[in-house]
Symmetry: C2
Amino acid sequence: MAGRQGQGGGAGEKGGGLDFPRPLTTVDIVIFTIRQEALHVLLVRRGHAEGEPFPDAFALPGGFVDVARDADLAACARRKLVEKTGVVSPYLEQLGSWGSATRDPRGWSATHAYFALIPASAAEAALAADARWFALDATGVKPKLAFDHAEILQAAVQRLRSKVEYTSLPAFLMPEEFTLPELQRTYEIVLDRALEKSAFRTRMLSADLIEPIAKMRKGPNRPAQLYRLKAAAAPVYFARTFNAPE
Amino acid sequence: MAGRQGQGGGAGEKGGGLDFPRPLTTVDIVIFTIRQEALHVLLVRRGHAEGEPFPDAFALPGGFVDVARDADLAACARRKLVEKTGVVSPYLEQLGSWGSATRDPRGWSATHAYFALIPASAAEAALAADARWFALDATGVKPKLAFDHAEILQAAVQRLRSKVEYTSLPAFLMPEEFTLPELQRTYEIVLDRALEKSAFRTRMLSADLIEPIAKMRKGPNRPAQLYRLKAAAAPVYFARTFNAPE
DNA sequence: CTAAGTAAGTTGGACAGTACAACTAAGTGT
DNA sequence: ACACTTAGTTGTACTGTCCAACTTACTTAG
């Protein structure tokens, strides 16, 4: 077996090597949003039909790849996201895949996990539309999740945090119009630590990411300049991370 | 379908939703190494047995997940890497997954791609042990690769390059003992651009990554201090990227 | 009406790490 | 002896963060 190669490996190979057990294949999506000054994930409560594992448990939204309908994995993820939240074009990135013999009691299964960032308004709409949906604090204590979804969620939070250190990802969590302090607060919520006000301003304004609009946000105090994402909404990579105080 | 959730979606669902077509599931590994002052990938030439797609084409090493032997995806990737290169514990990271209806003529298939970094000596050993193995320049023109492996390879190069900007990953491409200029050259090969000598030194020496050993490398010129990786060989994340000249 | 309070946004000095170039050190080949 | 090469150091300029103090604009209490 030492020299096995290409797509020809595996047990019970015969006539092309296709007639042996295939893993179950699913796609799951970790949908992040900001609610109540905290990072939340959208979860669905599972049903309790005959044969369904983890009845009534919370789970990441997702499901089996539909070989007949989904051209590829990304299309499958987009389909599920749109079907479920109605969000048109949020940030959607592949997170990784988890596969093992034991993660699903029904057999060897592999899931392709994606993570999405949506603004609070879209999250509220999704929650209002379907009573099975819940939003939970992504970093706090959570109820037992179905499958290995707790592990996937933890990986998603980690990935999000590490990317937020040097990218503009939190901008995708913002409403269309926002102030700089609001954007900074979103960063701080995701990173769970305070950032320097003036360094944050310098960086955000010198990055080719947001642009001021001719409006101000009236608040209880001094009014604040409103900004919006520039047309090219691709994430920006900064040359260095924010300071990480000891 | 708007409210579909959990692991219960899909076409032709019946009695738990398991009796509909499952995608083929494979694991492929992009193995990088440095050869001839260039970043190389290890590829295998496919066979031309009956029913094998892409006969005689170059492909990433990999194969079907073996539901009977592989506890999980990472174990499957490790197994394939060890079986094929004999490398014990190189750097191995999940790259992502590619799945579509068309990437394999035999049907809907999804591959879980990993990428590995191995020192040149391990690569030479693997090449010498099996005549079907080849090492090709990862960034230059390549022959047509089987499946969508060209796309996966390109993604791997991109991921490697972007991580090299702010991590110590190239250290895993080095032999056990190396000099600082050799390490710098490895960075430059991967990034395909020159780096500042003194900034590179400052960064590498202040990072808790390598340690000098009581030996010097005798070369044609002035001898150079030898270093080795510190015990904790986890990748180091730097606070900022190397300068990217316009 | 005034004073205190709060948050937005600016300013300036200290500091860290990189950019760049010039330098010294130690070996080679002619 | 000399030029040549590469290892490694030194020093100045510069960029962007860190941190604290400041101004600006608005609200609320008295």
